[in-house]
């Protein structure tokens, strides 16, 4: 193996793949077979990059040659960058050798599109097949579904991969037309739909025949770029909800647009990555998936965007003060989960703890509840609780004063004296 050449390629093709944010390696149930190599579990982050993101998979492109010219993408045809391509065996060797040293949970293979969608998809499948069949590799494999790939290939991909994903990238169809005129919305949807149907079919068969092979056991995911086309948070979250519901997505990822181009259709180079907004979108996503909220409770025509200075649950609570205060010792779990400052872990602790005795502030504090937010919304076994009839604005003001955020300068509208 020519390590120097491999190193060059790895630098180019890892650099190009890093804008794909998905790095999860959980949700699969593949076990080690016949004393082979690897298994999957709850997912492990083996290290974190200096920007604080988890590294759990070897995330690379097979090639960054591409026939498309999507404005938001680094590997677009018109971009003047170094191009490279891995051979199939090279990717297999890298994966196996990194895996054996406990660097990674598996492989996340994506690719620029060369020649045609099907030709590219075939090569991706070839890597996964080789890993599974020749190396007896049972670690995690995430393959990208190439937009426009045929149903037969998508079927085959699911037999070797744990997860498949198509990045929808632009949440609105109008945005897609503007930035990626060669790509059609239907091309993204087609492979997604095929994979979804196969997953359902395999699940049904498994109920009857236990030994049915696995088909994409960790499901599908997708990704949307945030802040490239002037879309609202409502646009993003409604389309995320659409994918969760109709395509049974395991995850939708939100990726703050990192300026990489001087194209006038996009935010200019040097403009800041919308990281705070990205964070608020993820918080909303969690509220939808784990806290029993529905999307129209948080975002609607009157409130198309999330507040940047407070989290979405607090935002909801301030708009719905009529639901509060909630009695910690009596409320049902559903309502406990809606109190700002209380996470699902704390909800479980409260429910188990209150069987033994009526809980007071001291107990709640020790359980790790963020009382600086929660105290305005709850009563517990104590005569001491917020009696003033506060309106939403003053509660918000007091909460903001009690906390210190590193993003403060991004939303603080108070003028600084010496600037």
């Amino acid at each position: 193996m020519d390590f120097n050449r491999i190193k060059e390629k790895l630098n180019i093709l890892a650099d190009a793949a890093k804008y794909d944010v998905s790095c999860s390696s959980s949700g699969s149930n593949r076990k080690n077979k016949n004393n082979g190599l690897g298994d999957t579990g709850n997912g492990i982050c083996h290290t974190y990059t200096e920007d604080g993101r988890c590294v759990s998979l070897l995330k690379i492109l097979l090639t960054n040659h591409c026939i498309f010219d999507c404005a938001y993408c680094v590997t677009r045809k018109s971009n003047d960058i170094q191009r490279a391509a891995f051979k199939i065996q090279e990717v297999v060797d890298l994966t196996i050798n990194f895996y054996r040293r406990n660097y990674i949970e598996g492989l996340f293979l994506s690719s620029g599109i060369f020649k045609s969608a099907d030709h590219t998809m075939e090569r991706l499948i070839a890597v996964a097949k080789k890993l599974r069949e020749e190396e007896n590799f049972n670690g995690y494999i995430h393959l990208k579904s190439i937009p426009g790939a045929s149903d037969e290939l998508m079927y085959e991909a699911g037999l070797y991969a744990d997860r498949l994903s198509v990045n929808i990238e632009i949440p609105t169809i109008s945005g897609l037309k503007l930035l990626a005129p060669d790509k059609k919305h239907e091309d993204f949807i087609k492979p997604m739909l095929k994979v979804k149907n196969e997953i359902i079919r395999y699940k049904e068969e498994r109920k009857i025949i236990k030994s049915t092979a696995k088909y994409a056991p960790a499901g599908q995911s997708t990704q949307m770029i945030v802040g490239a086309t002037g879309e609202s948070d409502k646009d993003i979250m409604y389309s995320a909800t659409h994918f969760y519901k109709n395509f049974q997505m395991k995850r939708v990822y939100y990726s703050g647009y990192v300026p990489i181009s001087t194209d006038s259709r996009l935010p200019s180079l040097g403009s800041e990555v919308p990281m705070l907004r990205e964070n608020r979108l993820y918080q909303t996503d969690w509220l939808l998936r784990f806290y029993g909220f529905s999307v129209n409770e948080i975002l609607d025509a009157d409130n198309p965007n999330l507040d940047m200075d407070i989290d979405p649950k607090l935002m909801w609570a301030l708009r719905n003060l009529n639901h509060f205060p909630v009695d910690i010792n009596k409320a049902e779990p559903r309502m406990l989960a809606r109190i700002p400052g209380i996470g699902m872990g704390s909800v479980h602790k409260i429910i188990s703890g209150r069987k033994y005795r009526s809980l007071n502030w001291e107990h709640l504090k020790k359980m790790g509840i963020a009382l600086n937010r929660a105290k305005y919304f709850i009563i517990c076994n104590s005569t001491d609780w917020e009696r003033r009839d506060l309106d939403a604005a003053s509660i918000k003001g007091m909460i903001l004063q009690s906390q210190n955020s590193k993003f403060k300068n991004q939303y603080n509208n108070q003028l600084s004296l010496f600037n």
Partner: protein
């Protein structure tokens, strides 16, 4: 009855469970259970030496497990924390558990229960970190070798994970702090102790014990680590929070930074 006594055990988990058994048998409300060699006896306290008895230990284990699976896990994890005084905490925890009408020790409004939960949580996090941060290096004898110095004694907890995952390669994970390790020889995992005068942690200096290709792969990995970083999003605080500096010595991608 109602007595307080110092019970001295040999430091093993079974020894500890035996001591718990004796404590319950003698109906001690407060059992001061201490490791041999680290004994600090009270002025007037009576001392009894406990001889590990697998059968008695087993009875405690089963008794707790019948009450709650998560409690048995919490107890074992908290024990491995090697924290001062954790024996007395666990003893009280088992007392509460056995006396409770509910299944499991779930009274999170009780300080002792909360404390054991937090200890177990800490140990669990260290276990998970070791599953993440172990970096094998391939020796010329075809063994994948890794050193660790975990905060808690987590080798017994990670053995199964590595056995299941790396079933087709020989590997050693060695705890430098506690001077013992695990060796998997393609069939079983054994506990070993080594004289490690020449194999050191992941340092920049190359050791003759490892293959040449080993250093090439480390180099590739370090390069990958660099090129996968997005420069416009650098957030060092978050980076160090996830990869605390005390672990950098294991990690080949951080060896230049150490």
């Amino acid at each position: 009855m109602n007595a307080s006594k110092t019970l001295v055990y040999d430091g093993s988990f079974n020894g500890f469970l035996t001591a718990v058994f004796i404590g319950f048998e003698q109906k001690l409300t407060h059992a001061d259970i201490q490791k041999q060699g680290q004994l600090q006896s009270g002025l007037f306290a009576e001392t009894e030496t406990i001889f590990t008895n697998i059968e008695k230990a087993q009875r405690v284990w089963n008794g707790v497990r019948n009450k709650s699976n998560s409690a048995i896990k919490n107890i074992y994890f908290a024990f491995l924390s090697e924290q001062n005084n954790m024996e007395a905490l666990i003893y009280r925890y088992i007392q509460k558990l056995m006396g409770s009408k509910y299944k499991g020790a779930t009274d999170f409004s009780d300080d002792g229960v909360l404390k054991i939960n937090q200890l177990a949580h800490k140990v669990g996090r260290e276990k998970h970190r070791m599953e993440a941060f172990v970096r094998f290096q391939l020796t010329k004898d075809d063994v994948y070798f890794a050193n660790i110095e975990p905060d808690f004694d987590v080798l017994p907890l990670i053995s199964k994970h590595f056995r299941n995952r790396y079933a087709d390669q020989q590997w050693i994970i060695y705890d430098l702090k506690r001077k013992y390790g695990l060796f998997y020889d393609l069939y079983t995992v054994e506990i070993i102790s080594l004289d490690l005068s020449d194999i050191h942690t992941n340092s920049i200096e190359k050791s003759f014990a490892f293959t040449d290709a080993e250093y090439e792969y480390q180099d590739l990995w370090n390069n990958y680590f660099k090129s996968t970083t997005i420069k416009s999003r650098i957030n060092n605080k978050l980076h160090v929070q996830h990869v605390p500096k005390r672990y950098w010595k294991y990690l080949s991608e951080k060896k230049e930074a150490v």
